[in-house]
Every structure is written in C-alpha cells, then in structure tokens.
Amino acid sequence: MSDRIFGVVGLLLAMAYAWSALIIEESFLSDAVGPKAFPLIIAGVLALASIAIFLKPDAEPHWPQLGRLLEIAAAIAVMIAYALALPEIGFVIATAVAASYLTWRLGTTPLGSLATGTLTSLGIYAVFHLILGLSLARGPLGF
C-alpha cells in the first residue's frame, strides 16, 4: 500500500514539476534547447518511475507506531524552532536546549540530559569557535 501511495504522490509531483517547467519565462535570447527541455525530460523520468512503483510495489515497509511518528514530528518542530531561534538567542543557549531535548528523547534521564546537552553545546562552542575560529550565531549575550 505504501508504495502505491508513493507512486501516486510521485506522479503528482512529476505533473506539478512539468507544469512548473512549462511556465518558465523564456528569455528572448536563448540557445537552441532552452531552459524548459531538460526539466521536462526529468519530469518524464519521474512520472515513468512513479508509474512503475505504483504498478509493482515492494513489500510493505515497517512503519513505526503513531507514538514514534509523533516523536519524529516533535523532533522536527524542535529543530525548526532551533533554526529560527539561533540568531535570536545565540548559539550556546539554543544548542544546549536542542541537544538536551534530543538526548532526553533518546532515553537519557531528564537531569542527565540537561547536563549532556549543556556539555555538548559548550564542547562544540569550545572546539569550533574558540579553537577553530568558526563564526557561530551570536545572541544578545555575545555567545
């Protein structure tokens, strides 16, 4: 079933891609092929592959339980929040929070994960910023 859905999604993607390719505005100065042809070929391959996947699906993959899916969704949410917060609150705090969250969800005790997260953050800051001189996000506190 998963592969059938995957095939349909792939086909829709191919169609959307082909349509996006067709509405590319061509410049008045163009080579013999133009900017549309290759994307259209790609859309064709994408569509054919999707049809083949739809017609001949593999065995069902092992999907995780709903709880695990929510787990991944939550991790993604934390990562997005991290990406957005990075320039606002600075590298060390943001990283400590995100790393603590991840190691907590991977099964460390709450207190232990707080310590691990903080150490991870400080360790990366020390190695990458202080030793290697990489510029990391600066928050209002300067780190």
């Binding site: 092929v33 290759f38 991944i72 320039p87 990366i124």
Partner: protein
C-alpha cells in the same frame, strides 16, 4: 618515470606539517566515524565538508583532510563488525561473518589487527592502481565531447543502483528527484529563474552541501529517534581483546588471500555501479570457493576476515579512478567527495590532471600518507577505538545533529538553509523507509547542472539537432552500456542482494 616524478612532486606538496596534522586528524576522526554504527564514510565526510570549508583551508589541505576521513572510515567499519557483530557501514557487512566468531573465541585482537593489515594491503595496492590507471583513463576521456559526456552521466545514473539493486524504478525516481532539485535556481545559460516561486533564497540554487548533510546525517538522527527502544542503546558487553599482534605464520597464511582480493576489489571499485559493498562481497565469495577446503569460513577463519577487508578498501581506492579521471563518481562516498571538489571550485575530469597536477598528485600522496598513518594507528590504538564504541547513541546522535547544524550555519549564516536541511532530513527518512536509495538523489543534485549544460551545448553546436546525442560510436557505446547496466539488475539484483544480506537485515539505505 614520468609518473614517479609527478608522485614525488605530490609528496613534496603533501609533506608539510599542516598537511600531516590534517591527515592525522582525518584518519582519527574517520576511523571513529567508520566504527560507530550508523555513521558510514558518506556521513562522515558529509558532516566534515562544511568544517573544512569554513576553516578556510586551501584546496589541497581540505582534500587531504577529507580523503583521510574517507580512508579512515573504510578502516573503521570493521571494528564494530568484529566486536559487536554490527557492521559500522555497509561494506563491512561481510567482515561480520568471520570476524565476530573470531571475537567470540577470544581472538578479537588478532582479528582486528589482521583486518587492519588487510585494509592496508588493499588500500595500498589500490592507490598504486589509481596511479597507473587514472592517467590512461584521462587519455580516453580527452576524446569526449559534450554529447559523450551527457551519455556518460546517464551511464553513471543508470548503473548507480548497482548490481545489487532490487528496484530500479526507485533508483530512477531518486535520480530524477536529485536532477530536478538541481534545476532550482537561475538558469546559467539564459538567466531566467526556474522553480524558485519568487523565493529569493532559491535564486542561486539549493546548496548540495545542505542536501547531503540533511539527507545523510539528519535522517540518521530520525532513524535513531524512531528506534529508541530497540537497538539505539548499545548493550555494554564485555569484550576480550586478546593478543594484539597477528603471528607471522597467520600473516603468511593470509597473504595470497589479501593479494587476490585487493585486485578483485579494485576492479569492483573502478567499474561503475559496483562499489565497495560488492567488492567485499565478491572477494569473500571468491576466497570461500578457492581456499575453504575444510569448511571453516563462517566459523572464525582469519582468511575470511582478511578477504572482505582487503576487498572493500581496495574498492574504495578503485572508486576514486572514475571520480578523478572522468568527474563521474561510481559510488555514494565518491559522490560526496565530488561534492568536496566542487565546493572547492575544482572540476574533476581529464583537464584536472593537465591543469592542476598539484591537486591530483598531492591528493594521491596524501592517500599513501593516510594509509601508513592508519596502519600505525589501528594496531596499537585499537583499544581506544573500541572504547569509543561504548559511547551510547543517545548522547552521540544529538552531537551529530548539532555538528551538522553548526557546519551548515557556518557556511551561509542563514536560518533558511537550516530549514532546507531539516526538510532534506525528513525527506531522507521517508525515502529510506520506502527503500529508495539516497545516493542517486545526491548525485543528481551534484551533476544535474553539468549534465544539462552538456546536453544543451551538444545540441546547440549541431544547430538544434537532438540526434547528435547518439551520433558518435563512443556515445552509442556509452548509451548501450547504460541500458545494459540499468536492465541487468532487474534480472540478477534479487539473487545477489539476497546473498549479501544472508547474515544481516539492515535498514541503511546509505551504500558504501
């Protein structure tokens, strides 16, 4: 003689204190990354690319660092195979078969050092193979015009799924997806924006480093989150290392095996679509047929440890031949190394040998240096690396995730790229669940623009005649190979994959 003097020049470039230090660092990090289950050579190199890049290292030093990581990871993969019966990466799968039984018999130290020597022999001979073969391939490659290059790219994609691929439709899907992503941004030939939907950040395209780190490293984090209660917590087992040095008699017994399998592995590495996993697989099978008279393979035969290790390290060296000489990688990790070259503004291919010989020969010299360092490191320091295996993934994976973020943020300093990377991580996870290979996606994003511009150049030269793509004997040959390479796995793929997976069923979609 010409080759030898070029090589000497290469050593002159590589033998500076800074470069030696970088090689040492790369070997060390690479071995650790190879040893940790879930972090293969592709992942390892991918995470470190942004680092080398943002450190402002020059072309040759960055290459030395990253190829040392590559070779180191190939060495390291065997450690967890032997000690834990979990392959550190896919090519090390075959090493489990005899390595783990040896460890159970209390001969872990011997197995580790023997496989270290085998890795060295394989990689050392393969580096010589690279020196001899790559310049010959360059001569052929100089005959290539744009039409032939287009055919060559197609060949690379058609064979990328490899002989062991089970579902070619999914490989094709992945390749098209990667190529499609490469099209995003301003068209280089006419200057019109494509697939940008008005988003300014997309005008200069999707950075392939962002795609690679997201697809490989972040998707690995998601896989671990999914399996938290399963394999994520490494059991702390008591491992008896035993004596460290293999006896002289044992080395002599294994020497013919190592020489044969190095040759075979190198060939598997050079051929498109074979790669290191297949290299170690055929090496093991051949040795089993040739020397296993008493049926000891699979029960802890030292030759069964030496064969796949020599094979997969030789294949790793062999895979560099098409990557350097043609600019078309044949495996996942060499695709990542190609990304390194492109990020450094070096275009591999025949002209690289003519125009930037210092890069090529410096790199080759670095491979030799890395190889000796790894041998020296892997035998006495093996205890240290085994201790690294005890770091539980619940602490390790967040570190991997955070280092990925740091690397990408270091390049661009924009949150937008981080969001794109998270998107790629999610995509990588879904694709891996659906058993879609990730390497073609990467290769597609890397080569998409070059492939398109070669096609357009060929057709424009011939006044818009599309048939020019199949006009010369060379391109017809390449196209036929591509078709054969694509169709063949549909017939043989299932059988081969079944045999390779007899010991373990792994979830990894990251080959090599």
């Amino acid at each position: 003689m010409d080759t030898l003097s070029s090589l000497a020049d290469g050593f002159a470039i590589a033998l500076t204190w800074q470069n030696l230090l970088l090689a040492l660092l790369g070997c060390f990090l690479g071995t650790i990354m190879g040893a940790l289950p879930g972090l293969g050579p592709s992942n390892g190199v991918a995470i470190l690319i942004p680092l080398a890049f943002t450190l402002g290292l020059g072309a040759t030093p960055s290459l030395i660092l990253l190829t040392s990581v590559y070779y180191g990871a190939m060495y390291g993969g065997r450690i967890s195979s032997i000690l834990l019966n979990i392959p550190g990466d896919e090519p090390a799968m075959m090493t489990c078969l005899d390595g783990y039984p040896m460890a159970q018999q209390g001969r872990a130290g011997e197995a580790l050092s023997l496989s270290g020597v085998a890795s060295f022999v394989g990689a050392f001979l393969a580096t010589w193979g690279l020196i001899l073969l790559a310049p010959q391939l360059v001569k052929i490659a100089l005959l290539f015009g744009p039409a032939e290059y287009f055919a060559l790219f197609t060949l690379a994609f058609a064979t990328l799924g490899g002989v062991s691929s089970t579902n070619q439709a999914k490989t094709a899907f992945a390749a098209a997806l990667g190529l499609g992503l490469a099209m995003v941004g301003v068209d280089t030939q006419t200057g019109v924006p494509r697939f940008t939907y008005g988003e300014v950040h997309l005008y200069d395209g999707i950075d392939f480093l962002v795609a690679i780190v997201g697809l490989f490293a972040l998707s690995e984090v998601f896989i671990f989150l999914e399996h938290r209660h399963g394999s994520a917590d490494a059991e702390s087992r008591k491992i008896v290392i035993g004596r460290l040095m293999p006896s002289f008699a044992l080395l002599r017994q294994c020497t013919p095996t190592m020489l044969r399998t190095s040759f075979l592995g190198f060939l598997a590495g050079v051929l498109p679509g074979a790669g290191a996993s297949l290299g170690s697989f055929i090496s093991y099978s051949m040795e089993k047929k040739l020397v296993d008279k008493e049926g000891t393979f699979g029960t802890g035969d030292p030759r069964g440890v030496a064969a796949p290790e020599a094979g997969n390290n030789a294949a790793a060296g062999g895979a560099l031949v098409p990557m350097l000489a043609l600019g078309v990688p044949g495996s996942g990790t060499t695709a990542v190394l190609l990304a390194v070259l492109l990020a450094l503004n070096i275009t591999p291919g025949p002209l690289l040998f003519a125009q930037q010989p210092d890069v090529v020969w410096g790199l080759i010299a670095a491979l030799f240096i890395a190889n000796f360092m790894l041998l020296a490191m892997n035998i006495p320091m093996i205890g240290l690396f085994t201790r690294v295996l005890m770091v539980p993934p619940r602490i390790l994976m967040p570190v991997v995730a955070m280092v990925s973020f740091v690397g990408i943020y270091g390049i661009s300093g924009s949150s937008f790229d981080l969001l794109v990377m998270i998107g790629f991580g999610l995509m990588g996870w879904v694709l891996r669940k659906l058993d879609v290979p990730l390497v073609p996606v990467i290769l597609g994003t890397l080569l998409g623009n070059a492939m398109e511009s070669n096609m357009r150049r060929a057709i424009t030269i011939d006044n818009g005649n599309w048939l020019t793509l199949i006009d010369s004997p060379l391109s017809i040959a390449l196209w036929s190979l591509a078709v054969i390479g694509f169709v063949l796995p549909m017939v043989f793929g299932k059988v081969l994959k079944g045999r390779m997976k007899m010991a373990k069923d792994e979830e990894g979609a990251v080959t090599d």
